[in-house]
Symmetry: C2
């Protein structure tokens, strides 16, 4: 009930920012950067307050680390703002304008989605990242971070508001949840009149699953990053070893890390021992299929569970497959439609894999770790989508927009 005012303000603001010029939006972004810089003591003090409360309540060290801001992290938020300013404005772009037999000209124009809700954990930097991406794409947004970061987010919100007002835009273009109350999330995603047009949940799988289950508006999300690297019969094994090592061990806790390796049977004997040695250096535990265990002694045998698990840890499941088709089928069946790679020098095998694997990123002869908005040239990302509609893979500015049809006529009517 009490959120109807917020909804009206957000709608009103979304219409204003949708029409704002690139100049105006960039001015707002610049002012946000200035405010973050000049008010950094206020932001850091609020963050200290959050950290103290969180430490007292026994929050675990990894989460405290995510919650913490310091001078370097504020600098990096400001750097993020600079980066978004440099990106082209996607709004108003017209494409596919063609003349029809009736005489009308028909094309598409890119426009903002409307009001984007972002729900995330206690990472205050996300507040800035989400706000500036939504703003540049001409959207209003409602941001709800984890309650442990409440004071940090309120301080950051004041900087954002200062920047937005400084550019002459209504402050409701970015609304940071005014309460740590869980009821607010309900108002964002559901009820008779949800606050938001689209929801982007970020964070752990259970958070995202719960939001998706309850939301009455479209959700852009990914749940799992169960990524595979398949080494083909015609792989260059030196490239394969580099890619397998990088995909698994470069960072364990990220969604584009590989969790399963599929090895063609014709290269298993030559590759597996070298691969095992490499993984041993990194202390990575191998869970192997029966065939893998024949090549490597002392392994834990993989179960069905291993083929679907996103370990996010120094563990990898390895399966020997008898064909490219088997590999594609395994990935489409057990995978999470996130990112999967083939290593092969065979033209036809690569072509078949690229088309046959139903994932948001399909990679030939490079590490799965490249599945990332910056690496893909989006400039920034608000998340990675494994959905089937709207946008797949890293979501940048364009993923926060849609296209409407535009028609130019000279008085035509239908007969």
């Amino acid at each position: 009930m009490q959120y109807h005012d917020l909804a009206d303000q957000a709608r009103q603001a979304s219409r204003v920012v949708a029409q704002a010029s690139m100049d105006c939006k960039n001015r707002a972004l610049e002012q946000i950067g200035v405010a973050l810089d000049s008010r950094r003591d206020e932001v850091l003090a609020a963050n200290q307050n959050d950290l103290k409360i969180a430490a007292d309540s026994g929050l675990e060290a990894a989460l405290l680390d995510r919650l913490e801001l310091n001078t370097a992290r504020v600098d990096s938020m400001i750097e993020g703002v600079t980066q978004i300013i440099s990106l082209p404005d996607p709004i108003g772009e017209i494409s596919h304008l063609t003349k029809r037999p009736s005489g009308i000209e028909v094309g598409l124009m890119r426009q903002p989605l409307g009001i984007i809700g972002v729900i995330y954990e206690s990472r205050p930097n996300v507040t800035v990242d989400a706000a500036i991406l939504c703003l540049k794409a001409g959207n209003a947004c409602v941001l709800r971070g984890g309650s442990e970061a409440f004071h940090s987010n309120q301080a950051i919100a004041r900087c954002i508001t200062q920047g937005i007002l400084g550019a002459g835009l209504p402050s409701a273009v970015v609304q940071v949840a005014p309460t740590a109350d869980r009821e607010f999330v309900g108002a964002m995603i559901g009820g008779k009149r949800p606050l938001c047009d689209v929801i982007i949940p970020r964070g752990g799988k259970s958070l995202i699953a719960r939001i998706s289950e309850d939301a009455r508006v479209p959700v852009i999300k990914h749940l799992d990053g169960n990524c595979h690297v398949y080494v083909d019969a015609d792989a260059d094994l030196e490239k394969a070893l580099l890619i397998l090592e990088n995909a698994k061990t470069h960072r364990y806790g990220v969604c584009n890390a590989a969790e399963s390796f599929l090895i063609h049977e014709s290269v298993a004997a030559s590759l597996l021992p070298r691969l095992a040695d490499l993984l041993l250096v990194h202390d990575v535990e191998i869970r192997g299929c029966v065939e893998t265990c024949r090549h490597l002694s002392g392994l834990t045998t993989a179960t069905e569970d291993d083929w679907v698990t996103e370990y996010l840890a120094p563990v990898v499941a390895i399966k020997v497959v008898s064909s490219l088709d088997d590999a594609i089928q395994h990935i489409n069946h057990y995978g999470s439609h996130h990112t999967d790679a083939i290593v092969s020098e065979n033209y036809s095998a690569v072509r078949k894999f690229m088309r046959g694997v139903d994932s948001s990123s399909v990679i030939a002869n490079a590490s799965t770790r490249f599945a990332d908005g910056f690496e893909y040239g989006l400039g920034a990302e608000i998340g990675i989508s494994t959905d089937r509609i709207h946008v797949r893979g890293p979501v940048g500015l364009e993923g926060l927009t849609n296209q409407k049809w535009i028609v130019f006529g000279d008085g035509q009517v239908r007969t």
Copy 2:
């Protein structure tokens, strides 16, 4: 429970048809056309059966007309198949392939959505239309028409299956609901494991609203077609009269017919009397704002309800507005994001309207009736979307696909 088999078959079939060549898909389409032709007696007999049952149970005449098939309507279904064959295959199209600083090449590849569920009323021609569009876009589909058309749909399903098998594709590429049971709709859209990846409901507003409310998978839909024509201060009034007449009176029961006219106050005095005369010829009832009623005597005064109503009838609401901004605000507030048009010779006014109106089709100087897949050059449409994500406006083959990221490397890893 009993639908798990169907789900497995559909998933399997979706993977096969996703990889099928254009040739193979076109062969299936051709064979469907042949089967509809050679088995037309069987289809018409099944339809007679449905018609008899429906007439006995007192179905109203308009619905009986939609349910009825005859030789001409079967011909038109076959004509539809020919049309889809002639369209280019959207699947596998690669775009935006660019080289990144890391050395990888990154681009997008178009691919099918997966399994599309179409839920519609008792119009047997939709069974063919939906099947052939989904098939051409490389999707499997599950089709559930109104129960009054059950026997017609089963007979059409046999023709479709014959065509699909004739091209060597699995019959489960197109599954027509094997039961008129309502429970089947529940299995398509919800439960622990919905049969479909995406749902397209077609039909009346209440059907679409109910499906959208209950669906646990994404829905592509439109609810209302509350379309506007705005006549600007700088309109060519002759064009305006033609467009207003066409948008309102060309067909009343269609979603792209205009329901409200917005008239700039500076042209109200000259335009409204002529417009009223024109509408009188068509027996269209006018509900006017206070200002409109000052210009035209004897009108019903419009209420708030009139601004949001999709009459689908010879009724129109007319409002005099004092500026372009007022018109845009009225449309964004009361409209349904379907199709809205401006009539103006003023360059800046048209530009502002095109960008400012948040509708799936925004039209300058032509009738709203052009918002249509054929008129836009899509070749065919499965519906019109007023959603904010994925696709807006007429949904053709491309709307039944998505784009995945593809990456070509030479052994790159992330550092």
